[in-house]
Amino acid sequence: MTAVFLGIPTAPRGVGHLRGEESFPDAARGALRNGQLRANLGHATSTIRGKRAHVVGELTDWAQLREAGRAIKAATMARLDEHLIALEEQVTARGGTVHWARDANEANEIVTRLVRATGTTEVVKVKSMATQEIGLNEALEAAGIAAHETDLAELIVQLGDDKPSHILVPAIHKNRAEIREIFLRTMPGVDPGLSDDPRKLAMAARAHLRERFLRARVAISGANFAVAETGTLAVVESEGNGRMCLTLPQTLITVMGIEKVVPTWRDLEVYLQLLPRSSTGERMNPYTSLWAGVTPGDGPQEFHLVLLDNGRTAVLADEVGREALHCIRCSACLNVCPVYERTGGHAYGSVYPGPIGAVLSPQLTGVEDNASLPYASSLCGACYDVCPVAIDIPSILVHLRGEHVEAQTRTTPEAAAFRALSRAMSSPRLWRLAQRAAGLGRFLARGKPTMPNALPFPASTWTRSRDLPTPPAETFTQAWAREHGG
């Protein structure tokens, strides 16, 4: 029998939230018309941008910290297998159980089985991108288990039957008036006189959640970091809901992408400085929870760690694209992205929106399942500038565009045009002819300084909103050659 290597598996279809129903340009078209969304996003992103710039500016060694953050991740990824095995040994030695999940389906099955074994039908959840990625809440619901989100913004999204639109602030697309409306409509026993004062809204959520914290027997979390040498898991947060979930229930299940491991305890020194400043624009986040295995008589007495691949090994195999795995989910790139600021996160169709999502989602699913995302950027480079681990997002976007183009088995009209243009641009004689042909466009303008607005596709995509200057009769190089006897 001949073995056929089909490539490293990517995240499977039909489960989780990595693929949108529409292409980015189509989804963006609708989002751009939503004035309330534009106002909410513009206000929120510019506020966080300012806070981040302020606290990053305070550190004279930011460039060195950033380089350390990049270097530790690069070195870790180069020996990821060894670090993961070390992590498993340490977690097991401290009384935890480690499970390996190849993809979203396996991870969902493992977690469902673990929850069922406790006999409970509800769980509380710490905000986690990994569990959003695999669609864990839906999988649990299908198994008759209710998952209650406890992060305020994640709760707003869940109560509103909505989708998260930001990595850090999943409800960034909602303003406080809209949040008040969701609470009044969906929160049992809420004060009908609830105002849109942020403190009052937080108090309502607190009362709603407190009951669930005290009742829950199982909690599910993600992880910001896992230290291989000590088996320590880390969750950073602002609200304290995470601390409640991580300490009160009897059983704790943590679902973690395999790229979250760091080799040593000391590595946290770097990331616990980089992350809060880049993320919420705070010098330090209010709650940092660290735990290793189980401690008799203190906190959860049963701890499970689910290590999730779901396409990550495929990303690691790409020499250019693998840098995307360095991401620490701070969302600084979303907040500075001029595309994200205008379209919002839903247009990306994945739980990972914005610049990092545009390089991560297509790699996790395979580029052809998210082929419009690498083009959802003007390549302005603002994301690279703010990334606390210096991921060169614009270069990865360009690389993935190349992967997409080279994956086509048929010649598209666009490819035919670019190939013809390549031939012209690599031959001075053909290029002069092509320039002459372009110059003929001036006759369509009939003496006017700009071309007609109604031009055929693809020129129409420009002229719908912008004038196109009329090309001149003579190019500069032609004129120069004429004057200088070339």
Binding site: P338, A382, E403
Partner: protein, 262 residues
């Protein structure tokens, strides 16, 4: 100094006055300008749209066109476009190497070392900020993304503009925000691009400047195309055209009217 001018495909074909102004300016500063025939494009549009294989022969053409200039005494290649210089510096050698064309990659890298964006050439290589220009207009400056973040030209264009006699420089709010051009982004994601352009235009118009300038003709074609469509009175003029203007010849090559169809 003997200087070779790379006009770039867009400037040469669509806005030749920008290349002309660059040549006029460099000659006025006492330098000999040559325009190597056979030049076409740096390959950026192909690379950034995903056609990196197809970009390789374009890079080879660029190297052929300019390698001869260096051997005939040219000391620098000057380009009135930040993004093309960024592509020459950051992409050309990489796409050639990826295609296994290592000799081409080495040649491209050697050319890149001698290739300068106009404001960098003036300020860093020639050491001038006052180029003797006269431009009696109210002007705002948009720092294009690749000049700002890939070439790090910093305030060099502003130093040059501040030294222009008669010119009133007004600060552009949210200047570091992308105008939404992004090459084929402007057509593949036309709606998002237009949303970004709208905000850029709002900021430009809030300055009440007559002229919005920048170091990239492509971004200016985008901003100018939007301003013209709105029939605003503000026009876009390349930095080279402003620096080429003098009392004797105010804007000899540029239209003084916004491009509004009559």
């Amino acid at each position: 100094m003997k200087v070779a001018l790379f006009a770039t495909c867009l400037v040469d074909t669509m806005v030749p006055q920008v290349a002309r102004a660059t040549a006029v300016l460099l000659e006025r500063l006492g330098h000999e300008v040559v325009v190597p025939p056979g030049q076409s494009c740096c390959g950026q549009m192909h690379v950034n749209t995903g056609y990196r294989r197809e970009a390789v022969p374009i890079v080879a053409n660029h190297v052929r066109a300019f390698a001869g200039a260096l051997s005939s005494g040219v000391e620098a290649i000057v380009v009135p476009s930040g993004s093309c210089v960024a592509s020459i510096h950051h992409q050309q050698a990489a796409v050639a190497r990826r295609a296994g064309e290592h000799a081409l990659a080495d040649d491209a890298a050697a050319l890149a070392e001698r290739t300068y964006e106009l404001s960098q050439f003036l300020v860093d290589v020639l050491g001038v900020t006052d180029v003797g220009a006269y431009y009696p207009h109210r002007v705002t400056y948009h720092p294009t993304c690749h000049s700002l973040r890939m070439l790090r030209v910093g305030d060099r264009p502003l130093q040059l503009l501040r030294a222009v006699r008669g010119l009133t420089l007004v600060e552009l709010p949210a200047a570091d925000q992308c105008c939404g051009f992004g090459g084929t982004f402007a057509v593949k994601n036309s709606d998002t691009s237009t949303a970004m352009l709208t905000d850029k235009m709002a900021n430009v118009l809030s300055t009440h400047a007559e002229v919005c300038t920048a170091g990239d003709a492509s971004c200016l074609m985008h901003i100018g195309g939007g301003l013209s469509r709105l029939r605003s009175g503000t026009r876009t003029v390349h930095l080279a055209e402003i620096l080429a203007s003098t009392e004797e010849a105010v804007t000899p090559q540029q239209s003084t009217e916004p491009a509004v169809p009559s």
